[in-house]
């Protein structure tokens, strides 16, 4: 099929030779007219089709008209008996993906080929036809496809099976009818037919767990020979194990034994598949060991792909079970110099996870050599691994900090630099000893930093951390240099940072003033404005608040209102005489993730919008403040989640929301009448508070009428001692007059009958007086609290199901917000520290540090340390835990 007409002279070395040199779409489309020739020249036609395919392959597109024209021309070529040409015709039809009315034209030709004696025609015609037809046409050829699946020629059978996999997406009900034939194909003696058959059978049955389990247990006994089919079977087996482990533990054994036996298979791809699946499972160390051993052998293979696959798998294992991989450390170290940089990077990051304290220095040295010749994306991976290693071995921070600062000096893009800065920032906040050295490294970096974002971020950090270091003055030069040298955004950040030093370090104040005054002549508005504001407030001439403490709090205090809540409040705020009051915005963090965990298995349908985190408290505040009786209660401190007081699907559905004020509690009963034949009137809740001594009922707001399916609220208010977290149990009875309703006419019977309905008891617990408020940096917040307020005690929690269970029990007793993800207890942990924060009634900030430990089998001990704005609250927290 050469195109000599375009061939260049051989001595013309400069121009690259290509048979398609100078090819043009228009000309080729012209040439395609040859397809209409009554005397077809097969060779010529093949050449033209190849040119058309070449054009398409280079990304050329045909217009609708051109495509139709070519398609019609190509269909003419079915007249030729030339097999090579026919093969290209098939390819061309697939490339053109004709519309459904065009498909009809080739259907009969393709169906003829499908029943041809030539296997090649049959196989290819099936693939083409299945690619282009729709459901109605499919029913017409279904019979042939079923035959083809069990065809004695493996290529034909595979073609039909693979087509079945594609067709299953759009026409599942048709393909499912082929089960019997597909099952026969799975038993075929041809390797690939087995593979394609198994893939299709699994797809057909994928929603039927029992059928899959049966299929797998039948096949694992050994009729599958092809390595590809084995890989499939390994996947399906591990899927069965994964799903059955949720129900029972016992029946997995034969399945797991099968996976293990695959580790001894002769094909490497099967071994890899099995090892990887075992490593992903939740198995014991002994069960994991054989998989690790085969992967270790792969590490020294001469094939890069094999080394890569092994090190990648080990890397994943090391994330969760570093100890299991330590045996491979020697092999991994030799891979650090691997020619393939992907392999070397994976080896290093694995080592960083499995390494022990003594090998850190050596590792860092080796990595330094390696860093210079890898791409940024690999470097980021390494930097992140170093950060987690440093957190693991804080004593070794010096060499790792050193490494990070050296990396900062080298060339690199934004993402890479950001990863380093983020790592240093994390280390500064987690390792106190590393703070000063880390800050200095960052100062050096901003002296020559081209990224505005990073400069601003570092300046902000300097403002928070710098004033509290041993020698704050050393940072001023770096910061003021920014004011002189940088762009407006960075200058403004630098001004704020300077002001923070001025506010927090009295000795520096006069000098900071000098610097800030210079900023008054800046060319940028924002910079000047900031300088003016800070100068005025720090001078104390303009009173923003009454005391100096207020000024500092106003300018530099942390912003503890969750942004989502603030956004929601601002949206509902209606412009009026009354200014927006930020103190009314809920501080409570809505804990979505926790709720999701409570309902395992059932995931919300994809695409359904997650419930918006609009604080319900805002809505409650509105309702409550509209009721005159409650207006004197002051600011609403907290509203609980609704607590159900009735079983699901009973006559009346009732839940209660507890609203806590400083000296009152309002119970809001949300009632729904679920009986169409009834109308309830004068609905009240009779609350018996004899088991809640500190509470006395002050008023009650009954519901005049409660028609079917339209919810109403009843309120009952109690008084309690101010700021006291009084607890108690309340029993509730719903009292009402019930009237019959004729559902057909909607008429209500005049006469009603008095009735009552027992609903469940309700408790007010200590957690109701605690707001879940997160802090961004627990360590800082902890250190800023008065150590005098700290109360520490130890508790034995007795025998618990697990450490995790004990942790979540204590969290729910206290009703506080877990910080920094510490509510998650790693698997098999023997001890755990959990950090909690919250605001207790009376607006006292509370921080809690819980240290859990297992003593003896399942015996959990806990050390509880509390700091709070008010030492009495710290004592209170201990009381709560002691009584809980």
């Amino acid at each position: 099929m050469a195109q000599p007409y375009m061939k260049k002279d051989d001595d013309d070395e400069d121009v690259e030779y290509s048979p398609f040199y100078g090819i043009e779409k228009g000309a080729v489309l012209q040439e395609a007219r040859a397809f209409h020739d009554p005397q077809l020249d097969a060779r010529k036609c093949s050449q033209v089709i190849t040119k058309l395919l070449y054009l398409l392959n280079q990304g050329e597109t045909f217009t609708k008209v051109e495509a139709t024209e070519v398609f019609f021309a190509v269909t003419k070529l079915f007249q030729s008996k030339d097999a090579g040409l026919r093969r290209l015709v098939y390819l061309m039809i697939k490339e053109l993906s004709p519309s459904s009315d065009e498909v009809i034209i080739v259907t009969s030709s393709l169906m003829k080929d499908m029943n041809s004696k030539t296997d090649m025609y049959r196989a290819n015609a099936i693939r083409v036809l299945c690619r282009i037809i729709d459901g109605t046409l499919l029913t017409q050829i279904e019979r042939y496809l079923k035959q083809a699946i069990v065809d004695k020629n493996p290529v034909v059978a595979s073609a039909a099976l693979v087509s079945g996999i594609h067709l299953l997406q759009a026409n599942p009900e048709i393909v499912k009818r082929w089960s019997n034939e597909v099952q026969e194909a799975v038993q075929s003696r041809f390797a690939l037919v087995q593979f394609h058959g198994l893939a299709l059978l699994h797809q057909i049955r994928q929603n039927d767990r029992l059928a899959i389990s049966k299929m797998v247990s039948g096949l694992t006994r050994g009729s599958v020979r092809s390595p590809l089919a084995q890989c499939l079977l390994i996947r399906y087996t591990s899927q069965v194990i994964r799903e059955s482990s949720m129900n029972t533990q016992t029946s997995d054994r034969p399945f797991f034994d099968y996976l293990e036996s695959c580790l001894r298979h002769k094909s490497e791809m099967v071994i890899l598949e099995a090892a990887r699946k075992i490593a992903e499972m939740d198995v014991t160390s002994r069960e994991l060991a054989p998989a690790i051993t085969v992967l270790q052998l792969f590490l020294s293979s001469s094939k890069p792909v094999l080394r890569f696959a092994a090190v990648r798998t080990l890397n994943k294992v090391a994330m969760t079970r570093p100890l299991a991989v330590t045996n491979c450390n020697v092999d991994l170290e030799s891979l650090m110099s691997d020619q393939n940089r992907s392999i070397a990077t994976l080896a290093i990051t694995t080592l960083l996870k499995t390494g022990n304290e003594s090998s850190v220095d050596r590792l860092m040295k080796q990595i330094t050599n390696f860093m210079s010749d890898i791409a940024d994306e690999f470097k980021i991976v390494v930097v992140e691994a170093i950060r987690s290693l440093c957190l693991k071995f804080p004593l070794k921070y010096r060499s790792m900090m050193n490494f990070l600062s050296n990396s900062l000096r080298e060339e690199g893009g934004f993402e890479y630099k950001k990863a380093i800065v983020d790592s240093i920032v994390t280390l500064i906040s987690e390792i106190p000893d590393a703070k000063e050295i880390g800050l200095l490294y960052l100062c050096e970096f901003i002296e020559d930093c081209e990224f505005t974002y990073l400069s601003s971020q570092i300046l902000h950090l300097l403002g928070n951390e710098g004033p509290r270091t041993s020698d704050p003055s050393r940072y001023i030069r770096y910061i003021y240099n920014r004011v002189i040298l940088e762009n407006a955004t960075v200058r403004a950040s630098a001004v704020s940072t300077l002001a923070k030093f001025g506010a927090l370090v009295d000795a520096l104040k006069p000098r900071i003033f000098v610097l800030l005054r210079r900023c008054l002549f800046d060319t940028d508005d924002e910079v000047r404005d900031r300088a003016t504001l800070y100068l005025q407030t720090l001078d104390g001439e303009v009173a923003v608040g009454s005391t100096e403490k207020d000024v500092k709090e106003f300018l530099f205090g942390s912003f503890d209102v969750p942004l989502a809540n603030l956004e929601a409040s601002l949206k509902t705020y209606e412009p009026s005489e009354e200014p927006f009051d930020i103190s009314l915005v809920s501080r409570e963090v809505k804990s979505q993730p926790l709720q999701e965990k409570k309902a395992p298995g059932k995931k919300p349908p994809a695409g359904a919008p997650a419930p918006a985190p609009v604080p319900a408290v805002d809505a409650y505040q509105k309702i409550l403040s509209s009721i005159p009786e409650f207006s004197g209660f002051g600011r609403l401190f907290k509203s609980s989640e609704p607590v159900e007081l009735t079983e699901a699907e009973t006559e009346y559905a009732i839940n209660v929301v507890k609203h806590i004020y400083s000296s009152h509690v309002v119970l809001q009963y949300n009632c729904t009448n679920t009986i169409p034949e009834q109308l309830l009137e004068n609905v009240t809740v009779y609350v018996d508070a004899t088991d809640a001594e500190e509470f006395s009922e002050v008023c009650s707001k009954p519901l005049r009428s409660l028609p079917y399916d339209s919810p109403g609220q009843i309120f009952v208010a109690f008084e309690k001692p101010e700021h006291v977290p009084a607890t108690g149990k309340f029993s509730n009875v719903l009292k009402f007059i019930v009237k019959e309703v004729d559902t057909s006419t909607g008429e209500v019977d005049e006469d009603g009958v008095e009735d009552e309905y027992q609903i469940e008891d309700l408790e007010i617990v200590s957690a109701d007086y605690m707001l879940r408020v997160a802090v961004s940096n627990f360590r800082n917040a902890w250190e800023n609290m008065d150590p005098e307020s700290e109360r520490v005690d130890e508790y034995g929690l007795g025998v618990r199901e697990s450490l995790a269970e004990a942790v979540s029990a204590v969290i729910s007793i206290l009703g506080m917000q877990p910080c920094e993800g510490t509510e998650v207890v790693p698997k098999n942990a023997r001890s755990h520290t959990c950090l909690l924060s919250g605001v207790f009634i009376g607006d006292a900030k509370v921080l809690v540090r819980l240290s859990f430990g297992l003593s003896g089998p399942k015996e959990v001990a806990m050390k509880l340390a509390v700091r709070s704005d008010d030492p009495e609250v710290s004592d209170k927290i201990h009381e709560i835990v002691a009584s809980g």
């Binding site: 597109t61 090649m120 792909v305 393939n340 992907s342």
Partner: protein, 182 residues
């Protein structure tokens, strides 16, 4: 393009054959991940530049980027690539690559270079068509692949199963000779 359940069946995202400057010789995409020709070209460019400096001549090499694993091999001035999702079994993909490069070698009579490849572009395209169908692996054995392709390219051929591989190669050779003589 049908996107079938990826977890249960190994799948190939694309097969690329580029020249030593990264230009297309023949490519085939089986995934909707690249919706336009521009995004395809961008992918080819980045794959090419990322792998250019490596030595993938004696053994197939592998790299991981943008959430894909790419297995590749260079022969003379031709660069062979096979791409898959990053959770795929690397050895299966390497097997596909080997089937691809070896069958091209058979079809081009060992004369694996850009010029010959372009002169036999129809064979290369048919070869890709025989290896992967809509992302699903059809065949990875180089002899079988080359056998299927070569048989098809010859006038009035016998069914491939009745041909030996040496016959298949003979016909391939004849095909080539014919195209050169013309």
């Amino acid at each position: 393009m049908g996107e079938f359940s990826k977890e249960s069946c190994p799948s190939v995202k694309n097969i690329l054959l580029l020249d030593s400057e990264g230009k297309r010789v023949a490519v085939k995409y089986f995934s909707d991940d690249w919706s336009s020709n521009a995004s395809k070209l961008a992918f080819e460019k980045s794959v090419f530049t990322k792998t250019l400096k490596t030595n993938a001549r004696s053994e197939a090499e592998i790299t991981l980027f943008d959430g894909y694993i790419v297995v590749y091999k260079f022969v003379q001035d031709l660069h062979f690539f096979v791409t898959a999702g990053d959770d795929e079994n690397e050895l299966i993909i390497a097997n596909v690559l080997q089937g691809f490069s070896d069958s091209v070698g058979l079809l081009l009579r060992g004369d694996v270079e850009k010029r010959t490849a372009l002169e036999n572009l129809d064979l290369i395209l048919l070869c890709i068509d025989e290896i992967v169908d809509g992302g699903i692996i059809l065949e990875t054995d180089a002899n079988t692949i080359a056998g299927k392709v070569a048989t098809n390219a010859v006038d009035g051929s016998a069914p491939f199963s009745e041909q030996t591989i040496s016959q298949a190669l003979a016909t391939a050779r004849e095909h080539l000779a014919r195209s050169l003589l013309k």
